[in-house]
Symmetry: C2
Subunit: 751 residues, 2 copies
């Protein structure tokens, strides 16, 4: 690939982006798509929108960019929660570091690479891309100090920024905890592995235990009930029977029935299973006298003060650590009920099974990755397997195979892997939805870094030097050299990957094709106008964070070796910044959040990328026979690792434990304001495994108590502009009324 081809590709992608962005700016003005592009706003207010046609609805505009740009961090935090801020800060961090890297690498390293060898240069547009990589520098060149300097500048800059970001986010996390005054989760402890006593029910055992050991602070408790699959089927059957029985009576009220999209008449034979009956199902199923039999060995225990709950959650309760296991409870909407009823004694083996399964999954996926990557090198493959020559004879087929197929297959991977990892995380036994998403995020990150970075590079290396046995990869000392050889040659692939997958994914994110199609399907085929049944999702951190981290890794590792990738990455991150801000402000609802737990992951992955960059540079300097540059790189690696260890000591504990003095001060403030009683009263009904209406009440009360909340709820907004202009209030978990209390609600879309 030469420069002109790269520029052509960039041009095509830029045009596509601009077209799609414009399309978005038009689509978002269509009132019929308000629930696709303003899910977040809709969650705040049910708008009555008018369908008056206006001409400017069809004119593309950049107003959304301006709005996304103008939103302050506080607004974002209020709308998207701390996680959204952390995610955007990770993007901003990447922009900052890559700007510095671009400046030093494009103006210092790139010319050195270009004039690294004495050779006749063609016109720049005709130059192949590898003339701009470090591969073009002569062995033993004295100019390698510049690469080493760039390495130092990038590393120091990244570490400094990381330090201040970590510090800031730790502060934000602490502020987030101390600002959340009336959260029931602070007063609640999840107890699992309650021992079975012959004569007592679980509930009695819990009462006895906590009145015995935590008498002054124990308030009450609430058992968790089993909800097995067979029971679900049984109650579903009961419900179906009821629906069929009552459907005749319902015939006159067609509005609650779905209209048949083809004939237009009311259909009597089926009914949308909206979420509401679930509550009645739950009630009918749990109101009976057999509640006690359905108790499982887990309970939510409420305490009088936050500090008491914190203390109880951190202590080892019993000499048998497999009994009375306590954890701080998640928020009511975050809790993952079905995993709470899993017997605790099985969790450790489940976790091991999931780890093993994940590793096998990653290894299994190496095969398609290697296959795909080998398609890029069809010319090399043809040498190894001559029969391929016939297939790849036509120019068009070859271009298709080498140019698009690999990227398309990777994109497909990116869509298949997260749901599978989500299933793994569910099986692992996460007790909160945010934890499950975080755990998925970690798994996807590992997967992507391994399968989309190392696997590609190693395949490249194996194909490039196929005379070298692939078995030699096992020797750890070869790895830096291998990486050093492979990175400059794979840089081309990575550049096209950033152009196609990166930029395209942003357009895709903006247009929301899946939601759009669903919307059209519901609207024009099913003729259903109730927005609440579809269209709002939580932010897919488990797919977006790994993607951003992968691009960060590409940026770091390629920066010194093949600096041409940097401008493209920089454009990607700037676009990502705008797009994600817009999406967080308008599209995604925030039902639950992890409280900034994603930052340690971002930090650790960035340190990993930094160290990898330095190790690869060490390998390159070794290959180029520059002992000075190698010698200077070693202390850099050591310092980076020490910095990481320091940050782990200095900041990470706050993400694992809650600081006691903050909790104590919050308790004091409660007592001072005299709202303790009110909180205790609401606590009893805050967590509801099945009952909707109760949960709704709690939600309202909680928001009422949260004195700092100034969320303006305006139920009768006039037009679309009003929807857009809703001022986000101070952070409060916003959720559509119809969702409140649907505790068994699963992720609607796992992207």
């Amino acid at each position: 690939m030469d420069i002109s081809a790269l520029l052509t590709s960039a041009g095509i992608n830029t045009t596509t982006c601009i077209v799609l962005f414009s399309l978005y700016s038009v689509l978002r003005k269509q009132p019929s798509l308000v629930n696709v592009y303003f899910g977040q706003k809709l969650a705040q207010a049910r708008s009555k929108h008018h369908n008056h046609f206006r001409f400017d609805r069809l004119v593309p505009s950049a107003s959304w960019i301006v709005k996304a740009w103008e939103a302050s961090e506080d607004e974002l935090c209020a709308v998207g929660g701390l996680d959204a801020v952390v995610f955007l800060r990770a993007v901003v961090f990447s922009i900052r570091v890559l700007t510095v890297a671009s400046i030093i690498c494009l103006f210092l390293v790139l010319p050195l690479n270009y004039f690294g060898k004495e050779m006749e240069h063609k016109q720049i547009p005709k130059e192949p891309l590898n003339v701009f990589t470090i591969g073009n520098v002569e062995q033993g060149s004295k100019w390698l100090w510049a690469h080493c300097l760039a390495l130092y500048v990038i590393s120091c800059c990244a570490c400094l920024l990381l330090y201040f970001e970590y510090k800031h986010i730790t502060k934000m996390r602490v502020a987030h905890i101390s600002a959340s005054l009336a959260y029931p989760s602070h007063f609640t402890v999840i107890v699992r592995a309650i021992p079975w006593v012959e004569e007592d029910s679980y509930s009695d055992t819990v009462t006895k235990f906590f009145t015995s050991f935590y008498a002054p602070s124990y308030l009450s408790h609430q058992m968790v009930y089993r909800s097995g699959t067979i029971q679900k089927l049984m109650t579903d059957a009961q419900k179906m029977y009821r629906i069929v029985k009552t459907s005749r009576m319902d015939q006159h009220c067609a509005s609650t029935l779905m209209r048949c999209g083809f004939c237009g008449g009311p259909s009597t034979s089926f009914k949308i299973l909206s979420d509401e009956p679930e509550s009645s199902r739950g009630r009918s199923c749990f109101d009976g006298s057999d509640l006690r039999k359905k108790e499982c060995g887990a309970a939510l225990v409420f305490f009088r003060t936050r500090y008491a709950a914190l203390v109880a959650s951190e202590a080892l309760q019993s000499p048998n650590p497999m009994q009375w296991v306590t954890d701080l409870a998640p928020e009511p909407h975050d809790i993952f009920w079905s995993n709470l009823s899993v017997p605790y004694r099985l969790l450790w083996i489940r976790r091991i099974a999931v780890i093993v399964a994940s590793i096998l999954f990653v290894i299994f996926f190496l095969l398609p990755v290697v296959f795909t990557q080998s398609l890029v090198h069809l010319d090399k493959l043809k040498k190894i397997f001559p029969f391929l020559k016939d297939i790849a004879q036509r120019k068009f087929v070859e271009q298709l195979i080498t140019g698009y197929l690999p990227s398309v297959i990777f994109m497909l991977f990116l869509y298949i892997v997260p749901p599978i990892m989500m299933v793994f995380s569910t099986l692992e036994g996460a007790i909160s939805r945010s934890r499950r998403k975080f755990s998925t995020c970690v798994k996807v990150t590992y997967f992507i870094i391994w399968n989309l970075f190392f696997a590609i590079i190693l395949t490249e290396a194996a194909l490039d030097h196929y005379q070298v046995s692939i078995l030699n990869l096992g020797d750890p000392r070869n790895i830096p050299n291998l990486l050093a050889k492979a990175i400059p040659t794979t840089a081309t692939f990575f550049i096209t990957y950033v152009l196609t997958s990166g930029w395209a994914s942003l357009s895709c994110e903006l247009i929301q094709p899946f939601a759009l199609i669903c919307n059209l399907f519901y609207r024009y085929i099913l003729r259903n106008k109730d927005y609440s049944t579809y269209g709002t999702y939580t932010f897919p951190y488990h797919t977006e964070v790994p993607r951003v981290l992968l691009f960060g890794l590409l940026g770091f590792t390629c920066s010194v070796l093949a600096p041409l990738i940097l401008p493209f990455l920089l454009v990607y991150f700037v676009l990502a910044y705008l797009v994600y801000r817009n999406q967080i402000l308008n599209v995604y609802v925030t039902e639950y959040e992890s409280g900034g737990l994603y930052w340690p992951l971002v930090h650790n992955t960035t340190i990993f990328s930094l160290v990898l960059m330095q190790i690869i540079a060490l390998g390159v300097f070794g290959l180029k026979k520059s002992p000075v540059a190698s010698g200077f790189t070693v202390p850099l690696i050591i310092c980076t690792l020490l910095f990481h260890e320091y940050c782990r000591k200095r900041f990470h504990p706050v993400f694992k434990k809650t600081p006691a003095n903050i909790i104590i001060e919050m308790d004091r403030e409660d007592e001072h304001c005299g709202r303790t009683e009110e909180i205790h009263l609401n606590l009893q009904s805050a967590y509801c495994q099945v009952n909707t209406s109760k949960a709704l009440n709690v939600r309202n009360t909680v928001e009422h108590i949260d004195s700092e909340s100034d969320c303006t709820e305006n139920p009768n907004l006039g037009s679309l502009e009003d929807v857009e202009n809703i001022t986000p209030g101070k952070r409060a978990i916003q959720l559509p009324v119809s969702w409140v209390g649907h505790s068994h609600f699963e992720e609607p879309r796992v992207k």
Copy 2:
């Protein structure tokens, strides 16, 4: 080496052992050596012993064996603490497993090995030892199922025993905690990294913080003071001046001055720096008004209840995890004051430095080990380096070099390494002496297993197949095969190692040559008769636990492959059982203990040995081309690892955290008995960085409070028999009066 040579060697070693054991039985009857062999008893009572000569003092007897055998576990726990019981249980565990292994391996595996190949057997005494190893079994033999069966039996038996031991020891640990009613450590929290506030002293900051956040339970606190080297030198100089000034007045009381051993007259020019003046030094040094300047950012904070202290120790105190770091305090005699004044912010880097230094140390020691081991294979070396032929021409020199030198060098290592590791652990910043010893123990275990097991085997492998490049060792897949090849051939060395080093070390342990020489030196050269200045030591867990673990590892890994080692190991462990019981009962004092913390180490190392045994067997089965045996070994490895994970979940947390309900019940009992006030009163003076007399008072009061203590203290025992027959009381830390409060006391001997 053939069987007869082995038996000769065993005979010689047995004779030596018997002679030394008899010598010990005589020596221990000498009243002048009572402080060498009855340090523990002396610690309980100062005996007035009579020097009447009796003939039976010169007759060897086995009475000590009977006494050691008869002591119950409760007695041992009372005398040596939980750690001693754990150590002896580790020995008993080894005896049990090795008995099972011996039965199945000697009666099933050994004959199969012997008749494994069709060959002409010589007379058994002339057979070389490798005829008895698995190396003698034919490739693809059908009899390998027997080895696999043995593997299963040994693994299952070991896992079962490990499980019950872990369960029992966890119970004992819990009982130990709940039995220690009046321990000041339960009420005390060590706070480090107290932030420096400009206007306040550290002490004021602590008061403010704890009265603010722990008002109901905070009792008082005590600052830790700096005691730097320069200050020590200054005060030492002051003291010297005082001694010189007052020595003229002291001339008439010669008993407190040392008598010159050569002339017999009282020496006026120098005085033994006994430990007592330290207290006055401390007082003179800390009584001044500059106390505040000497405060360092650490304090002991006392709480009203154990539970409050536990809670405060486990919580994260501040949003900055590098400030207000809390830990449960060690016992007053266990605390390591000088490390408390190390700034907390330096600890993490110290720890990293120590880890790096330890790794370098281990690698550095690989060279002498390889050198030594190569001496054993002088014949092979001669082939590689022909010039060695001249040196090793003489039969005697060759025998010396191959037979004794390696073992002697290893013995020397065993004496050099623990003190160095102890220094490392001190630098690492352990805040208690028991922790420091435990940390040393872990380091020495790693060192020994790496340098005395893997290094030897790998050297063996490298020398045996020196055509195979040593660089191939880096490939992880080769390691099982390498081990499989090397273990049967190194078995001979390990057998002689057990015979010489193992058995000899026990005799050495019994005779206590170092203490004996010191005793004689003090008595006959320095003519000093005060026993308290020398002769009592704490049990050297950091040298003995690794030794026992190494022999356990040898037992497991050699059992199936070269079963001849088993009887020798069994004899070693039985002797060790008797000797260590005797030593714990009579010699070592128990000043501090870790509360059974050594068991998780023993458990983990044993699991490691088991898995290693299985992996090596897998390699052997692979080499012998027995797919069935290999196939059956894989699930065994998986099951062993799962078992380990289960134990880690089920038992290990109790060794990291104290169960809250036990602590709460102890608090309740205190309140019920009305002794809370008394405990609070004593608490204030329990920890004393410098003052002796106070500490002594506390000690006495504590023992007085400890109502379950029935330790009989008889200050006027009539004779040596009385010393021997002191009944050990219920567990209470026994220590010589002169040591009480010598907080800076360092390990007198680091063996």
